[in-house]
Amino acid sequence: MKHLKPINQKAGRIEAQIVREQLDVVGLESAPPTGPHIPMGCSLVFAPGWEVDSSGGTAGLCQPVERDLFDCHLACFWPAHVPDQLNHAQDWTGRCAAAQKDWRKIDLVFP
């Protein structure tokens, strides 16, 4: 492979990816790598989770978060993260019809 050079972009990206993975080595001066950590707290077991996806990273998160935010709010799929329409802040979405456009109007709620 070392004598071949990809001429299309996708192959170039794949090659760059392989190089990156090979470079990703923790030196002997450090403790053995322990893999990605999933923080304490909320909804780590949903896939995707709120803070992290099922692999412990952010690549699989619902993105941008504003796109589906109001679905989280209905009966509250994410009760510890987003206000729920049933009890806390029923009118949370009142000031912005589409979160993706009006996201600056979204309230932070203290129940």
Partner: protein, 585 residues
Amino acid sequence: MTQRVHFASLAIVSALGITVLAASRLEPPVPGMTLANEHGTSSFGVGDEGYPIDNETVIAQCERCHEQDEQGRMSRISFERKTPEGWQTSIRRMVALNNVRLEPAEAREVVRYLSNRQGLAPEELEPGRFEVERRLIDYDYQGDDNVEFTCIQCHSMGRVITQRRTQEEWALLLATHRGLYPLADRQGFRYGGFAGEQGDDDDNRQPMDIAIDHLSEAFPLETPEWSAWSASMRPPRLAGTWALAGFETGKGRVFGTIEIVAGNTPDEFTTSAEYTYAESGESIRSTGQAVTYTGYQWRGRSNRGDDGELREVMMVDREWQGMDGRWFTGAYDEFGIDVELMRTRGEAVLTGVHPRALRAGAGATEVRLYGANLPTDASPTDFDFGLGVKVESVTDVSPSVLTLRAYVEETAMIGGRDLFLAGANLTDAVRIHDGVDRIEVSPDWGMARVGGATNFPKGYQAFDAIGWDNGPDGQANTVDDLNLGRITATWSMEEYTATFDDDDIAYVGELGPDGIFTPAEDGPNLNRKGSRNNVGDVWVVATHAGPEAKANNPLRARAHLIVTVPLYLKFDPWQSGFMPGRLVP
């Protein structure tokens, strides 16, 4: 409406507005404390659980919904015990959802009464301290994996293990969850299926039934710990001068003193503190107020002037000679000092030496010794650091810090050294090493949250580079390794490769020269593919290149940083006005 909720949020810092009175006076009663012994748990037989309630405010405010029986027990309330934060959360929910109207003074009295009469013993709180001290840790509940799985889908296990309830009360708690959050039924409690569909074939209970059975067994209302503690419980007498030692990630060690003055009631105190960050020399003065709950739980807030407020959560030890806990701030409580207080009585107290790590053969080195009531007339020979470390001169003196010129010989053996001075001692005061073998980034993972564009605050993450000497055996990661504390490092970020063309590093935010990560703004980023938020995973890399580094110079270590989305709901804000936002309803 907003005002009422605001009142409740002040409940656990009930010392606001206190004026300090003269020492000699009749002390007003502490709600829930004076009669504790008369109604100790031991007076109730098995099957007759539940605590009678005799506080007029609690009865007046709660009896509209919580009926009181002939034994004085009120429905639901009498059958649970929890932390002051737990009781405050209940009151907030009653105000927000059940139309309770409380004055601030009433809310404080209810929290104090219930926390004192139906609180947790120190041994019971200990495993869940991270919850009240607001620490972001990897907590692994050892009791039952299935129950942990059921609970942490929505919230920290810390909320669960800081409560005690009867079996019926645990069942009602889950019923309340199902009522308030119907989707939780499918997410965690029943999975929307029939019993026995999930997991073990021999156990056909639903996850919520498993949880109720486990929790009522592991965290029952009546325990020997609580019986013993509540019998001996009283407001701790904490007035006096205390030496302070602490550590803050991103800033290093802190030393100082705190003066605690008795307040209007035996469980209230006012404080004035003075402390210094040993590395930077930054000096802080603060004044504050605090209340103690359940005879040992310190809850205070201190004002640092331009630097803002800190919330103080500490546990007082059983002998009233020490306290420890965390003083914190930040929108997600992410900045904080791990604090330890030691009572002083006029004798010398040693709290720390900076720098703590001294290299064998370093020769003459200036070190500062922190403490309280330090002997200002001490001569160099009074300082005993053991063989190989001599104090040549005392160059500057004050009762709280002595500046010394120490000489570390080439032949000094590596390891921790105790210091003895004027009848006082400090264990492991300095660590003699022969060079830095490796470094690590602490914490080894972190989490920040984007924010700052409008209503959502940024969640920061601080990191330290910690130096290590491999110890006498020369092997890394063995018991004899010496932690050399914070070490200078240059900070950078590297991509944590998770996808093709991963480009998180360009968007997530900035890592400062002090190791403190500041996330980028929230909201869709139109310049990013798919208008993604500025979220991502990166490696935080510390590089140490110095004369003390042994092999592999420069030394390098890294930690995994997750930069993620905000929370749109905060159940436990303690700083009113800290962030923009809206109180419910």
